[in-house]
Structure formats: structure tokens, C-alpha cells
Amino acid sequence: MGRFLRKLVPGHASLISSALVMSTAVLLSALGALWWTVQQAQVAESHASAARTLQAIAQTVGAQLERGIADRDLAGIRMIVLEAARGGRLSMCRVVLGDGSVLADSDVGAITSKTIPEKLPPVSSAALGEHRFELAIPGRGTAILEMQPSAESAEPQSLQFAFAGIAVGALVAVGAASVVIRRRGRPFTLVADALSAVASGERDLAALELADSTGGVGTAWNEFLRELARHRARERLESVASGRVNDSAHDDLALKLVDSMWHGVVFADEEMRIRYCNGAAAIFLGGTRESLAGTPIAECLKSSETGEGLLRLSDAKNRGRVVFECGVGEGDVRTVLRVSARSVAAGGYAILLEDVTQQRVADRSKNAFVEQATHELRTPLTNIRLYVEALIDNPNSEVATRSQHLNVVNQEVRRLERIVGDMLSVSEIEAGTLKLALHDVRLPSLFTDLEAEFAGPARAKNIALKFDLHPKLPTIVGDRDKLILAITNVIGNAIKYTPEGGTVRVSARPVDSDLVVEVADSGIGIRAEDIERVFERFYRAHDPRVEKIVGTGLGLALARDVLRLHGGDISVQSTPDRGSTFALKFPIRSPMSRAA
């Protein structure tokens, strides 16, 4: 407001100076008119006075002249005329006869009659006037005494011109002042129009702004409007911060929208203290909306990234968005928040909080998967290449050796198939497209195939692999390939994590309406803290013995997904260093029930 007034003062000064010019012009005009009137009165008075003087002179001199004419004393008459002209300060004084001849004159050169006739010529009354007086000479007739007041007492013509000049000057000044005032007053007229628009309900401050060409007043008015806009924004922020809902339906809707967002929204003041947060933000920041009001952001988001990010945000030059991630909360999986913040025109900062924990977990898992899968694929490929090269290099080797080499190649190809199958299944599960192709599955045949598949690897590790199958295993409805995938992963793990000389026992039996397949090994076992998580995708127990063995961390997750798709589940019991028992349970759906 102060700036506005400071800007407004010069405008007022100009206006005041214009008003002064106009007042001066009016005053001058008035003075001129008064002077004019006084002068006119003085001139009139002067005229009257001159007339009275002439009258008095005529009376005084007239009698002497009449006597002189009667005595025919021409020299005396002329002396009287000269004296009268001098004494009465007349420009002209003369005695004229009825025939126009000049008997005596203050200007001697103008005398035309050298004698006084016996009988004076008659004088017409028309010849008499203001400055012409009759001289009556008994027995001789009449003559005329003509007098003219001096030029000093005449009407001052130059003064009249001066008066006219003053009047014209005053009019020009008034006109100029009027133009100046109208020009200076135009911004005020526009401001008055804008105020009328506000009174009529105009709320858009941008529509009330004046053009730059309106000068200082316009600039000050525009600055005032901008200050008002900032004030309104601050007020809105205050009302939001204090939880008050503005009476405007628009603001109410905006507040509801912010509250319904699943991303956290925070308004912080210039000191980075929370002024308002929505429900999602309150959860992320670990408090309630009321308790968080006034709390510094840095106290709620404690991390080095937060400190650095807020520092960048508070940099006065920074008008851009500042984005950083920080971890909050406790527990196995810390919540990762992506914080996007920027300063707002009304003052303070708008901060958006997004929960990106699951994205980060997925990113880490995928990176680990690619790393593991690369490793996992490389091992069988290397083996295949080595054994094939040996066969090529030694075409005449013994049949038994060639057979052994080909057997290794065959095993490694199967291993590759499993890995690729796992990866495909994972991608199907990830995409939500993993579906079962249901067919009749003859369980005895399925286990026979499995026994044949794992006989080699078990023998290679000198592990006693036993299949304890119920004599009457039913034919069920299911996805054979997926079931083989699930059971293969469990048996494969058992062999993988069982040291040489150990045992792996696979049993399958119907229990009530379910089929239960148990895979028990005498392997390294699983620690209690890992048991809950071994079925998670990409999870691998934090055990050096496990980390030594390559694996994707997908096998058990896939087995669980497949069994659940079949309506069953998988569970595990384990004692570290003594072994684990995985139980795969799924309902038996006979071909008859499927037909029904």
C-alpha cells in the first residue's frame, strides 16, 4: 500500500499544479474584469470631471471673453484664450464665430480672423455641444468658445488593449488548464470505472488493470491490484491452513478435491513449516492434520535428501520444481516418497508427496532378476558349448564318453528350458495373463517323468532321491505343464540346497479331497526370518550358503502362483541345517466333476 501511495503522490502534485494554474487564470480574469470595471468608472469619472472643469472654465473665461469681444479687445481675447488653455491644461481653446472664422486660438497659427466684426455672424444651435459654449455679447451677437481637454485626460486606449490582452491571456490559460486537467484526470476516470466494475460484481483482477500508457497512476493502480491478488491468495492459504472452508463454492470444491487425492499435498510457509496438509500427506508424514500444522517439513521427512532438497527449494533464485526421494516410516519395507516441491506466487511452497515404494521394489527386483537370469543362462550355455566342442574335437572318442557328453548337453538344455519357462511364466504373471490350460492329468505318469528328470542331477550330487507315491494316485483336472513347473521348482531347490550325500524324499498322497505332495530334504534349511519371505518373487535368503548357489528367486514364487491358480497352496516347515519340507496341496478335481 505504501508503494501505491508513494506512486500516487506525484500524480496528485500534477493535479494540484493544474488546479493552481486554473485558479490563477480564473483569479487573473476576475482581477482583469475588476480592473476593467474600475478603469471604466475612472474614465467615466474623468469624463465627468473634465466636463465640469470645462464648464467652470467656460463660466470664468466666458464672461471675460464676452467683455473683451464687446470692447473689441482682440489682443485681450487672445491673451485670455492662451491663459485659459495653459491654466486649464487644455489641448485647444479658441473662439470661433458663426461663420467658422477663428477669432482667437491657443494655437496662434489657427487664427483666421484678424478683426472683430461689428456684427457677429449668427451661430446655429447645432454648432454648440459638449465642448462648445455660447458667448453672448449684448448688441453684437454670439460667438462660440470651443475647448478641448488635454490628451492626458482623454480615454487611455493602450490601457484598453492591456485589458483585452489580460482577458485573452486569462482565457487561454483557462483553456490550457482545462486540457491539462482533463489529461491528468483521465487515469482517475479509468480507476473510477474499474471501481464501478468491482461494484457491479467483477472479480477478475486482471480485467481491472489499466494500460501502461496511463502513466504513474495506472502503474500504481496495477501494483495495488497485484498486491490485492497476493493478499487474496494469502488469505485463501490461511483459510485452507486453518481448515476453514471459504464461503465460495469454488474454494470449497477445490479443498474437497485436494482432500480426495491419494497423493499427499502440503502447503508450507516461507520458513518451510506446514500450513496445510491433506489426509494422504498426514499419513505419509506420520501425524494428523491438526498435529502437523506448524511443524517444519524437515522434522517429518528426516533424511539427507530432504535437507538437500529443501535447501535447493529455499534458494530464492530457484523458481523451478525440486524433486527428490526420501524414505519414511519403519518396518521391513520403508516407504519411499517422491517429493516434488516448488514455490508459489502467494508465498510459501506447494509440496506433492507420492508413494513410489512399490515401483522402487519392482525396479530393484527386476534389476536383480536380469542379473540373476543372465548368470543362470550363462552357466548351462557354457557347459553346452564345452561339451559340444569336446565332441567336435574328438570325433573318434569312445561311445561311452560321447554318450556322457551328450547326456550333459541334454541336461543343460532342459535346464535352459526351465529357466526360459520360469521367465515366461513370471512375465505372464506380471502381465496378469497367466492362465491355466486345463486337461486331464494322470498323476502316476507325471511323477514318473519327474523321477526320470531328476535322477541324473541327484546322482551327480550323490543324493538319495526317493519317490514315495500312493499306489492309487488319481487322474485330476489341471494344467500339466504348470504343475510340472511348480513341483520341478520345489524338487530342484531341494536337490540344489542339499549337500552331497543327503536325501530328498518326494511323497504324494490324497488327503480328504486334496492331493498333498511333500518334498522333504536334508539340506541347509531355512532360517525362521526367511521362511515368511521365501515365496516372494526374487527373494533369496540372506545366507552365504544360499548366495553361493545361483538362482533367480523365482521358483517358489512361481510354484505358489501355480498352486493358487489350481485352488491350492504351498507351505514349508524347516529347521536350519537339518532340512526343509515343502507341502504342496491342491484340490483333486476329477474329470467327472469337471464334466458336471
Partner: protein, 111 residues
């Protein structure tokens, strides 16, 4: 009633085994509320092993939904059997929850 909790990445899955009825509701609600607080709302209720939900169970689901609604979230349910789907439809509450075919789809919704 057994209630299984399982972590799926950053998401916690809660699977009640058996009908969600009056006597089991307090324990179920306590577990879910704890899970919501611990995971900041990244929580899915797997009803694939819940054949039936009674009025108290339904009320409990609504309470949890309102708790999440305050932070702009919706309660995510997955694996609903036909009976539970029908109960939600009849009570006109189906749209109150986010429903997913299975846990994987529900977990992916957090991405």
C-alpha cells in the same frame, strides 16, 4: 479364524481363512488397521478363502474403507467369490471398494 499376512513387495496382503463373521471381526479389523498404518495404506484384503461375509464383517470392511478414504485411498479387495460379490451387489456397496481378480492384479495397482 486364521488370518494370514503376506508381503508382496511393498504391499501387504491379508487373507482371512473362513467366513468373515461377527466373532472374527475385531481381530480382523485390528490386523488390517495395523497393516494400513505400517504400510501407509499399501494393503490388499484377499477374500479368495472367504466364502461368506456377514453384516458385521461388511461393516468392518466399510469402516476400513472410510479410514482409507480420509487419505484419498480406497480399500482394495481381491479374489472375491460369487457369494461375497453378490452380497456387495445386493447391499449396493460394490463400488465402495476396488476389486481385483487376484492378488497379483491388486499388487500391480500400486505401481
Amino acid at each position: 479364524m486364521e488370518i494370514r499376512e503376506q508381503q508382496h513387495g511393498a504391499v501387504k496382503g491379508i487373507t482371512p481363512k473362513g467366513p468373515l463373521c461377527t466373532q472374527d471381526v475385531p481381530e480382523f479389523q485390528r490386523l488390517v488397521q495395523n497393516a494400513i498404518a505400517a504400510t501407509m495404506g499399501r494393503c490388499v484384503i484377499d477374500l479368495s478363502e472367504t466364502p461368506y461375509v456377514d453384516s458385521q464383517g461388511l461393516e468392518s470392511l466399510l469402516t476400513l474403507s472410510e479410514l482409507l478414504a480420509d487419505s484419498g485411498r480406497t480399500l482394495k479387495l481381491c479374489g472375491l467369490c460369487e457369494t461375497v460379490k453378490e452380497i456387495l451387489d445386493l447391499t449396493d456397496l460394490a463400488a465402495t471398494f476396488e476389486q481385483y481378480e487376484d492378488m497379483n492384479s491388486a499388487v500391480r495397482s500400486f505401481l
